[in-house]
Symmetry: C2
Subunit: 108 residues, 2 copies
């Protein structure tokens, strides 16, 4: 979790600093509905490497947006989901989806 002093003054810049990178918004899009397992996420995001998925998830956890639950089973069973703070980002995902649909509807 960042401290107040590390964050930009502008709220938009603050949010951007949390969802920066190529994949976090797409990860949020997936976690929106339910918890996901690691390999399940990687398969669905198609194109993301293990390293980048690991790094992205860890940053999101560190920022308080996501949680990691290890069931301590063999074979390993780990699930990732959104914290209540992470769920506060869902209006952003919804706005992105709305715009994406609109954009595709008007281009020829």
């Amino acid at each position: 979790m960042k401290t107040k002093e590390e964050l930009p003054a502008c709220p938009v810049a603050t949010a951007v600093s949390l969802i920066g990178g190529k994949w976090k918004l797409l990860i949020l899009r997936n976690l929106k509905t339910r918890p996901w397992r690691f390999n399940e996420l990687q398969r669905d995001l198609e194109g993301i490497s293990q390293k980048v998925l690991t790094d992205s998830l860890r940053q999101m956890i560190d920022d308080g947006l996501a949680y990691r639950h290890d069931y301590h089973e063999t074979p390993p069973h780990v699930e990732y989901g959104l914290t209540s703070l992470g769920r506060e980002m869902l209006p952003i995902i919804d706005a992105l989806a709305d715009f994406g649909n609109y954009y595709k509807s008007i281009i020829q």
Copy 2:
């Protein structure tokens, strides 16, 4: 402007492909209120280079989000603003700002 075939199937991914990079969302935040001149934008974004600002603006124009109006004066006078399509992105900016404010309000 991209064609339908170049865009991802997922609407969120479509939107992300349009606002990718480090600066476009911040540029949108500025253009939200009124048209801006080039140097004015560069000063306000503090940290962005001319090249990156030029590249970002050109992509946004190419994607139909922004326009460029050259007054053909000497000294040069050029203004950048949002198209009606670009204004459809404003809910995204608003959602980002809301979240940024909320995030800063709850961290200690």
